[in-house]
């Protein structure tokens, strides 16, 4: 069985699922998606990124891979194929849980 992603890990993979982002880009995207409910603080962010990178779910782009017009100094992160698979698996898992919840609550409402 695959170990569940941590909540922060999931948020970061989700933020990288549509485009490559740098650290602050991830923070802003997560704020956007969660409507301000989740703010990733710096140490949590980079620690979790390190872990995801170490697990090959995320890769760091070399200088040449930067999107145009962005500073070279900033490090950009991209979702790896394994990361995409993992995100999809996590989404399925959450979906399953959500449907169980809806079903049970549906019983209750009836």
């Amino acid at each position: 069985m695959v170990r569940p992603l941590t909540a922060h890990g999931f948020q970061i993979l989700l933020a990288l699922s549509d485009e490559d982002r740098h650290g602050n880009g991830i923070v802003r995207r997560v704020l956007e998606v969660t409507e301000g409910a989740v703010r990733l603080w710096p140490v949590t962010l980079y620690r979790t990124l390190d872990e995801l990178r170490h697990a090959d779910l995320v890769e760091e782009l070399s200088g040449s891979g930067h999107p145009q017009g962005e500073s070279r100094r900033r490090r950009f992160y991209r979702l790896t194929d394994a990361g995409a698979d993992r995100l999809a698996a996590e989404a399925d898992r959450l979906d399953q849980l959500a449907s169980v919840a809806r079903r049970n609550l549906g019983h209750r409402g009836a």
Binding site: N24, W41, V43, Y46, R47, D50, E51, R73
Partner: protein, 892 residues
């Protein structure tokens, strides 16, 4: 945005590789977060949140760094769940088992941490209550206090009502300006009814503070400031609950205060007890009632300068501009009434829940308490760190075994840190219990005081959060050393286990104990200094005997007594009381013989230049009757003691104290002159010096003026009598009733009790510091015992060899004692240095004792040294009893 030091310190605790990689990115992310949130939330909250992020990330960051450095082995698959919940639970279970297996160690550590952190938590509760918890008023940051800034004036002198009216009507800045004055009240109609604290205030008091009554209303402007209109009262929520059991009938009914009926028109919300922390008010009354409530005073007199003023800044006001405007207004009354308003200037400061005269002593006092309790915590952490290190050699075998079986070093660090964290979590729990207990004791102590202080010492969320954070940080700081030590030993991954620790660990442990001794020396010296200051304060010779001296203040309503009538009244009252066989002597004074307030007046002395920048001397003046010196026991050294004067018709005369005489007329004061208010006064006598301001260590110049020539409607009776307080109270009540039955009967109080109250800070400090010192002492003695026993264990073989080669038991004993002595000596030396550095901080609180008092230092070092040597003697004796044969066989 600059990072505060705790955050920087935490940053430095991150793994170096992580820091090197991400530092710039973290700075950038922080700056972005700051820009987004900084504007709306206060800085401390931002940094608290950021520190939380950092401290929770600390451990995982170390673990993943370690994992990368020591790659996981095949056989260790089950251990790889380093970041999963499972692994953590397993760690905690394992740690709990370990702690239960060593109950003595666990108990000792929990107790040490609990006491250390408990002391800290209790002190922080006090800091929280006094400094941090905001007053329950609207926008407290906009409120400003207006202080009087006049040469020679003391902090108890304030503003007159007419002055206040000038400021209020002419100012253009400030949203509102409020005058108020505290007043002691007697509730109910029986003599000796409950004494409660109240406030007299101007109309917009509640509006400017932003306090709306929970029920009813507050005063109208007409009620507050028109004499005879305002028999209305607003009461606190506590007053309503405690005294009227929350009854709905209170609103609209009458209560009697100082013999006058007031209708309760409003009840304030719970939590508001006035603007001063620690001095809760129960009743608020219109300022216009002052003259009737406090007979002998006159609200609309420029001489009546007892009001405090505060105001609210509008958005466009600055403190400096508002102060300039008020000073420009102040110049006007000065021109119109130069005698009363000479050199009166004001300063404005941010509104504080402390009276201006209390701000710096209270801050200093709390600062000292914080330093002391932090020292105790430091001693406790050193102790726990030492105990954990002591387990190192024993743990090494276990760690080596587990590493050999496939556990990663990172996993082992996490394991050991989890144990420390669990230990500190237990300690934090104990600390909360300790703090609750201490707060309870402190609360009871405060309630037993005769001054009616009121604090609600509660452990709120902020205090608990700080306790938790302190536990986390101290646990990491304490546990990391032993953990890394243990793993480095384990990394060698040898099953060869020798019981003797490596010399590195031993040196670290010795250093810990030296630190403990140093800390406890500092604690003990501070505690002893406070104790000595308290004793000195009790013994300080005021220049007269307070034994058998009692006081009672009597005020006459000005509408029924002219000054001349007041003179006749008081002289008759004093003479009547003096005929009582139980009373030895009766004096009259407008000031207390030993009080807190100064009463300076501007005067000039022919032939003497006033101090630079001033056009007069400001010298304290006491108005007293001729019998006063006799009653108090002040010796007449030269001339006569106002005795020649008993009415207003004679030429103005005065008596001065010896200090004044020496200062101005070293060749004889009698017959000399001084000028007050343009009038010439002849000096007819010199009396002995007395300390008349209680906080002062010195005797200052003082001028006594005869009551007969300066009569007033408010005087204090000074009674010398050995009879019981109850009898005195009855006698005063009887004589007063005979003279004028409509007057209030005052409470007769002993002077010695009055002095007790003023020695309160020293008393409190010596108690708290004494308790902390005792704690530090215990920890240090335990530490010395521990290190000597530990060293004995390590050197058992060596000692055995020495004895086998003919060493005498006495030699071995003295060897171990010398070792203990070296540790105590080094610690004491360090402690003395730190105490000397802390000295200046304490100076203000130590009346009559030098912060580097050699006797105190010597006593502390000697007694600590003796106890520590005793603690070292026990294991040293054991060393002398070593049987060489057993020792050599042991642990080879």
């Amino acid at each position: 945005m600059s990072k505060p030091w705790p955050y920087r310190a935490l940053l430095r605790m991150l793994p170096p590789s992580f820091r090197a990689r991400h530092r710039a990115a973290i700075d950038e992310a922080l700056a972005a977060a700051w820009n987004e949130s900084g504007a709306v939330s206060p800085a401390w909250r931002f940094w608290l949140r950021a520190s939380l992020d950092l401290s929770t990330g600390l451990l995982p960051a170390w673990i993943s760094t370690m994992q990368r450095r020591f790659p996981t082995r095949r056989s260790d698959r089950h251990d790889d769940e380093a970041t999963s919940m499972d692994g953590w639970l397993q760690d905690i279970r394992y740690a709990a088992r370990g702690l239960i297996r060593a109950p003595a160690l666990t108990l000792l550590c929990t107790a040490a941490i609990g006491l250390g952190m408990g002391a800290n938590t209790a002190v922080f509760t006090l800091v929280n209550e006094i400094l941090l918890r905001p007053l329950p008023v609207r926008e407290p940051a906009q409120l400003v206090d207006v202080h009087l800034d006049q040469p020679g004036a003391n902090s108890f002198l304030g503003f007159s009502f007419l002055e206040y009216e000038d400021y209020r009507s002419r100012r253009k800045s400030l949203e509102g300006l409020v005058a108020h004055s505290g007043i002691g009240l007697r509730l109910g109609d029986q003599v000796g009814g409950d004494r409660i604290r109240g406030q007299l205030n101007s109309a917009d008091y509640f509006e400017v503070l932003g306090v709306t009554p929970a029920r009813g209303r507050t005063f109208t402007a007409r009620e507050a400031e028109t004499e005879g209109r305002g028999n209305v009262a607003v009461v606190s929520h506590g007053f309503w609950q405690r005294r009227f059991a929350g009854s709905d009938d209170l609103l609209g009914s009458d209560i009697e205060l100082n013999g006058i009926d007031f209708t309760v028109v409003g009840i304030l919300p719970a939590g508001f007890t006035g603007r001063f922390i620690g001095f809760p008010s129960e009743v608020w009354l219109p300022l216009a009632m002052m003259d009737r409530l406090r007979p002998g005073t006159e609200l609309r007199s420029r001489a009546e300068q007892g009001l405090e003023i505060f105001g609210r800044l509008r958005a466009e006001d600055s403190i400096a501009a508002a102060a300039d405007e008020l000073n420009a207004i102040a110049a006007q009354p000065e021109r119109e009434h130069p005698d009363m308003n000479r050199n009166r200037r004001v300063t404005l400061s941010v509104f504080s829940g402390l009276d201006q005269s209390l701000v710096s002593p209270v801050m200093g006092f709390l600062g000292i308490l914080l330093v002391l309790s932090t020292l105790v915590l430091l001693a406790a952490c050193l102790n726990v760190g030492n105990l954990l290190l002591a387990r190192g050699p024993a743990r090494r075998a276990e760690i080596a075994t587990r590493v050999a079986l496939g556990a990663t070093p990172a996993r082992m660090v996490r394991q050991i840190l989890t144990e420390t964290l669990l230990l500190f979590a237990l300690g934090a729990g104990a600390a909360v219990l300790v703090a609750l207990q201490v707060n309870g004791l402190l609360g009871a102590f405060i309630e037993s005081l005769p001054v009616g202080l009121g604090f609600s010492l509660t452990l709120d969320a902020r205090v608990l959060a700080i306790t938790g954070a302190v536990a986390l940080i101290t646990a990491l700081a304490t546990g990391l050393g032993p953990a890394l030590k243990a793993i480095r030993g384990g990394q060698a991954a040898v099953l060869r286990t020798s019981r003797s620790g490596d010399s590195n660990t031993t040196r670290l442990r010795q250093l810990f104990v030296v630190g403990q001794v140093a800390v406890s020396v500092v604690l003990l010296i501070t505690a002893s200094l406070f104790l000595r200051a308290f004793q000195r304060g009790q013994q300080l010779d005021p220049g007269f005997s307070t034994n058998g001296l009692s006081m009672a203040s009597v005020g006459l309503p000005p509408e029924s007594y002219s000054d001349g009538e007041a003179r006749v009244f008081f002289q008759a009252l004093a003479a009547g009381l003096a005929t009582e066989p139980d009373i030895a002597a009766v004096g009259l004074t407008a000031n207390t013989p030993l009080g807190v307030a100064r009463s300076p007046m501007a005067m000039t002395v022919p032939g003497q230049e006033p101090p630079q920048g001033q056009d007069a001397f400001f010298i304290d003046v006491h108005v007293v009757s001729a019998d006063y010196f006799d009653a108090v026991g002040i010796v007449v050294q030269e001339g006569s003691a106002l005795r020649a004067v008993d009415d207003a018709t004679g030429a103005p005369v005065a008596v001065v104290n010896a200090r004044m005489a020496a200062r101005f007329w070293p060749r004889g004061a009698v017959g000399q002159r001084l000028m007050i208010d343009g009038g010439e006064i002849e000096i007819i006598g010199v009396v002995g010096d007395t300390r008349y301001v209680i906080q002062s260590d010195t005797v200052d110049p003082l001028v006594y003026l005869p009551f007969a020539q300066h009569p007033g409607g408010r005087m204090s009776l000074v009674l010398r009598s050995d009879t019981a307080p109850g009898t005195l109270q009855r006698l005063v009540a009887e004589h007063l009733a005979r003279a004028d039955a409509t007057l209030q009967v005052p409470t007769v109080g002993r002077l010695s009790e009055l002095i007790e109250i003023f020695l309160l800070p020293q008393r409190l400090a010596s108690r708290v510091a004494g308790a902390l010192g005792a704690l530090g002492f215990l920890l240090a003695v335990a530490g010395v015992y521990g290190i000597v026993s530990y060293t004995l264990g390590q050197r058992r073989r060596e000692l055995g060899i020495r004895m086998a080669l003919g060493g005498r038991p006495a030699d071995v004993r003295s060897l171990m004692l010398k070792f203990g002595l070296r540790i105590v000596g080094a610690g004491s030396a360090a402690g003395l240095v730190v105490s000397a550095l802390l000295g200046p901080l304490l100076r203000d609180f130590l009346v009559g004792v030098a912060p580097t008092d050699p006797l105190t230092m010597l006593t502390v070092v000697a007694s600590l040294g003796a106890s520590a040597l005793l603690a070292a003697y026990v294991p040293a004796r054991r060393a002398a009893a070593i049987d060489p044969a057993t020792a050599l066989r042991y642990d080879v």
